[in-house]
Symmetry: C2
Subunit: 194 residues, 2 copies
DNA sequence: TACTATAAATAAGG
DNA sequence: CCTTATTTATAGTA
């Protein structure tokens, strides 16, 4: 006895052969069409698609954040250079990871210039103190924030070289990025936006 | 997939009354269910969802890039602090916009300290020269790269204040970001990851 | 990982 | 902004 008499209440499972009466109402729109994934040449269509899909993507991102307990940032540059972003605090976190560590590696205690080399490696008690300072970031004073009034010529030289290292860590990183981006753009054939 | 799409395309418009024969094959899965957008507590389900949805989101992003000629970056931190990213060159571009301008605003010509104020606004010929230097980033020498041996005490003071401004521009920006992130995290109730 | 049924996103057209 | 028809993304299961 194969066929089961489904009572009038429920429809049969969709995998059972059946007859379906579709509504006769004529639709207003023509409905979605499949599109090729390539630049939408029509200007207004592209703007509409951009708006819809950007919104959709941001929604997906927020869902993923909630569902899976993750932190997500999205950066979108429109062709005209306009910026749209999602999850700015995550961007900041990422930038910190990339750059702040460089600065910290160049900064030790405020006394460094007067006492030792400015990039001394801290150990033991000093280390944990450094970590405490990390937690109270707002009260942290970097070595390069001290007045140089009190420094003599020799100390000033040291101060200078320390600053140069700091500058180097940050600026070279940025310069590297600029160069890398240029190369990538050339490689990808991406032209600069306004 | 493709075959199904083909066959459905050859059917009459769906708003015309018609008879549809459904497949008889018994399905293997039970199909998709609606879910609430909140943290998925089951550990393995969450990992699977993360994997699927991350892939889906990256695909959406790449489609949006192609369709609308935009540049997109996505940064994802998993709960364990693992980083997944998309469009790294766009992240670099973003960081440039945020930080490189600060560095440039503190750097003018190498002669500035000996001649004028170190943050002089350049005009006319000098301006276009500055722009040329911009293009040859690798050969650009910032004012703070010069030796301080040749400077007298007055020039040294100027050098100092310029350095402080440079330091201020970069460091305050970073500190602001750190602080802002801390505040946002408190507000959102987000705890720190490993 | 693969597969299917179903939920969601979205291309066209008001 | 809406609406509808379809295409796409995916939750649940084996």
């Amino acid at each position: 006895m194969a066929a089961k008499a489904e009572s009038s209440r429920s429809l049969p499972p969709s995998w059972v052969s059946s007859t379906v009466i579709m509504p006769k109402k004529k639709p207003k729109g023509t409905g979605r069409k499949k599109i090729e994934i390539k630049r939408i040449e029509n200007n207004s269509s592209r703007k509409v698609a951009f708006s819809k899909r950007r919104k959709g993507m941001f929604k997906k991102a927020s869902e993923l954040c909630r569902l899976c307990d993750t932190e997500i940032a999205i950066i979108v540059f429109s062709p005209k250079g306009r910026l749209y972003s999602f999850g700015d605090h995550v961007i900041d976190k990422f930038i910190e990871d990339e750059i702040v560590s460089d600065i910290h590696s160049s900064s030790s205690s405020k006394e460094a210039i007067k006492e030792n080399d400015c990039v001394t490696e801290l150990t033991g008690e000093e280390k944990s103190e450094e970590e405490d300072m990390h937690k109270e970031q707002t009260e942290l004073e970097f070595w390069w924030e001290q007045s140089i009034e009190d420094l003599n010529m020799e100390e000033l030289e040291k101060y200078k070289s320390c600053l140069e290292e700091l500058r180097s860590n940050v600026a070279m990183k940025v310069e590297e990025m600029v160069m890398r981006r240029t190369c990538e753009k050339d490689f990808l054939g991406i032209r600069d936006k306004a």
